[in-house]
């Protein structure tokens, strides 16, 4: 593998060549680590199952009786399971680094690849790729479940609820955005786990950061504070990507909300990366 890299990168400076080679080797090493233990595959499968199951259950629980106006964003409803699936994604991402700390593997990893940021970058790239793939299946399955179930629950095209379809722009944006949301949750979790190291504490911090904002939003009635929370809390802001109705009254635009989550993930990864370089493993 490294031979091919060197051949292809002849024109680059020595440092650049080393960087690219280092990253590819790191990716290869991380892929081997992820591939050869059973945990990640099970967690990715669990993400898909949990997402689709909770989405289906939520969709099946809602009914729109005839004669009433139902102010329901059916696309968002059919993607409810993302709120459960993200917890498993968080576990996967946390274990990608905390698992190495708990077994002492991190010292071997860093001895083999002293460029620590490359190690973290490789983990981030691989995690994002895997979660994007699993998330695409999960979101697709959720939308499909909505497409099958919703007409039977009173949400028919005749009443202003067209069949869920990825061909529709807002639905595609919500579904694709949910996949990106899961990937960003993975990166945020990886960053926090690099900071905290201990897996239990890292998972606690991630899930607290995510799940507390909708709970607190249910209590805070001060419009200034609830606006701030809706705009800047990672889960509340990030999940606005799922909104397809009432876009004008959203506290933050769908892509802007996803951008807020991306900023959280970037900040966590950056802080994690810096501490990884500075601290002893």
């Amino acid at each position: 593998m490294s031979q091919a890299v060197h051949a292809g990168q002849r024109g680059l400076s020595g440092a650049g060549r080393l960087d690219m080679a280092g990253l590819r080797d790191a990716l290869h090493a991380e892929w081997t680590k992820l591939r050869t233990v059973a945990g990640p595959a099970w967690l990715l499968a669990g993400t898909i199952v949990a997402t689709v199951a909770v989405s289906t259950a939520a969709t099946a629980a809602v009914r729109c009786p005839s004669g009433t106006a139902c102010p329901v964003d059916t696309t968002k409803l059919s993607l409810t399971g993302i709120q459960a699936g993200q917890a498993i994604v968080a576990v996967l991402a946390v274990l990608a680094i905390s698992g190495e700390y708990s077994t002492g593997m991190i010292r071997i990893t860093l001895a083999a690849m002293p460029r620590r940021s490359a190690v973290l970058a490789a983990k981030a790239v691989l995690l994002a790729g895997l979660v994007l793939a699993a998330g695409a299946i999960a979101a697709g399955g959720s939308v499909l479940a909505g497409r099958i179930l919703l007409p039977g629950r009173g949400f028919t095209a005749a009443r202003g609820f067209p069949l869920e379809s990825l061909a529709a722009g807002p639905t595609l944006r919500a579904a694709a955005g949910s996949v990106l949301y899961l990937a960003l949750i993975a990166l945020l979790s990886l960053g926090i786990a690099t900071l905290v190291r201990e897996s239990a504490a890292a998972v606690g911090v991630v899930l607290g950061l995510l799940y507390l904002s909708p709970i607190i939003l249910g209590v805070v009635t001060d419009p200034v504070w609830s606006h701030r929370l809706e705009r800047y809390a990672p889960m509340s802001a990030g999940l606005t990507i799922q909104d397809t109705t009432g876009l004008r009254s959203l506290p933050i635009s769908p892509w802007g909300g996803l951008g807020v989550l991306a900023a959280w993930a970037a900040a966590a990864l950056l802080a994690g990366g810096l501490l990884l370089r500075w601290r002893d493993a």
Binding site: V54, A58, A61, V62, R63, C64, P65, T68, A69, C70, P71, V72, D73, K76, L77, T80, Q83, A84, A87, I88, A90, V91, V94, L95, S98, S102, E198, S199, A200, A201, A202, V203, G204, L207, G208, Y211, L212, P214, I215, I216, L217, G218, V219, V220, T221, D222, P223, V224, W225, S226
Partner: protein
Amino acid sequence: MTAGTVTPYQPDQQTGRDGFAQLLRAEWTKFRTVRGWVIGTVVAVLVMAGLGLFAAGASSSSCQSASGASGGPVRSGGACGEITPPVGPGGEPVTDSFYFVRQPLAGNGGITVRITSLTGLLPPSNPAAQGPIDTHPGLVPWAKAGILISGGSTPGSAYAAMMVTADHGVRLQDDYTSDIAGLPGAVSAASPRWLRLIRSGDTITGYDSADGTHWTLVGTVHLAGLPSTVQAGMFAASPAYQAITENFGGGESGMVAPSQDTAVFDDVSRSGAWPDGTWTGDYVDAAEGSGVGGYHQVSGRFMVTGSGDIAPVVPGQAGDIGTTVTQHLIGTFAGLIAVIVVATMFITAEYRRGLIRVTLTASPRRGRVLAAKAIVIGSVAFVAGLAAAAAAVIFSAQLAHARGSYVYPVPWPTELRMVVGTAALIAAAAVLAIALGSMLRRSAAAVTLVIVVIVLPYILGAASVLPVGAADWLLRITPAAAFAVQQAAPQYAQLTAIYSPNAGFYPLAPWAGFAVLCGYAALALGLAVVLLRRRDA
């Protein structure tokens, strides 16, 4: 972490109950000597109390945006500090707003009436529609009219009333919260209702009859401290009309607008000493309701029209301006997550470090080891939860009062139940966490599982698009049912309101909900003991 585990090996030392006390001491020593766990517990207390203060502080400006449409404690034009609903004899906030045709009754006596009709007016079903007819005939389910004996003329006074209602037959209600059913069926000229109230000291007895000769005892109520002269007479009240649409998002109230009703009384007879001899009609607490009301008297026949309600006020309804003690305990979720992390690590760290082999060698009866761990972590979690919940409730209420925002008063036994229940909830969650940690041996998986089964059902139930029915089921069968211990106000059958989880109402009774979590924790602990015995450590 390793200190103290050697004490059971002193051969001359008397070990009580097969060394269980020593086991407890060993586990306690492990807990208190790991700095991270102690810090985690302290963090749990701080975030729990801190978030409660935040919730109290970040909700106080809402009283400026009050709209005076509902049965909630909203007064139009009042400044923040003035918005306080009257408080009933039981300490609960009440609505006490109705039209009252009354005169003083000195000492013991009674009043008997016949009611031949109860009609009313409802607000327009579509407020935006333009048209000359803006109201239409009809009654809200709890439109009520009848006879009432009241201890005073100020809102919140003790009272007892016999009434006919639109959809719920004859009722005897007293002191805002109590409700006893009498004759069923609606009142009409063909099927009139006779009502009677007899006062004797602090005791008031209600009777009803369908023919004026055969009387049935509906109930006897005691109004403590009733003055010797009371106000007695006829009243009419009609609660606000609520168009509660399908409750997406855990409870959305549609339009809320005042309604009114009119009752026709005849055959009014009195016993005892009525010194004035003439009737006076006035609106009790007119500022609260729509103020619609009046009466006509034509030769012993009275038509009384009223609006408003005589009922408790429950939080979480349209136009709500106050905060509840439940909201001050919102930090429970954050504290819970921190405690779950610590409790899980209390067992998984043993596996990670291999200490579990030392532990199980020192005390080979494995079930007892897990029991000791559960007792230690459960006690720590209970004490931490108790401190945090008490601090959150006390300081948040002070902050809210200092900022002039209204806090729904709760009777002290309820407040005590909420604080102790919250601590018990956190303790049970810690036991669930240690059991799952012992089964899974992986801290990340165990922490996530416990958080997801306790916190996620609450989020999906209270803060998502699920309708009330599905949300209720989630909060009945998942460990999140335990949050019922934080319910501040009871659900009143005689009050039309949105009793949904996000308004602070849970489908199970407080301790029944807690029992659901305990059931899960006990089941998990049992399975964990079985697995710990069977598997190699």
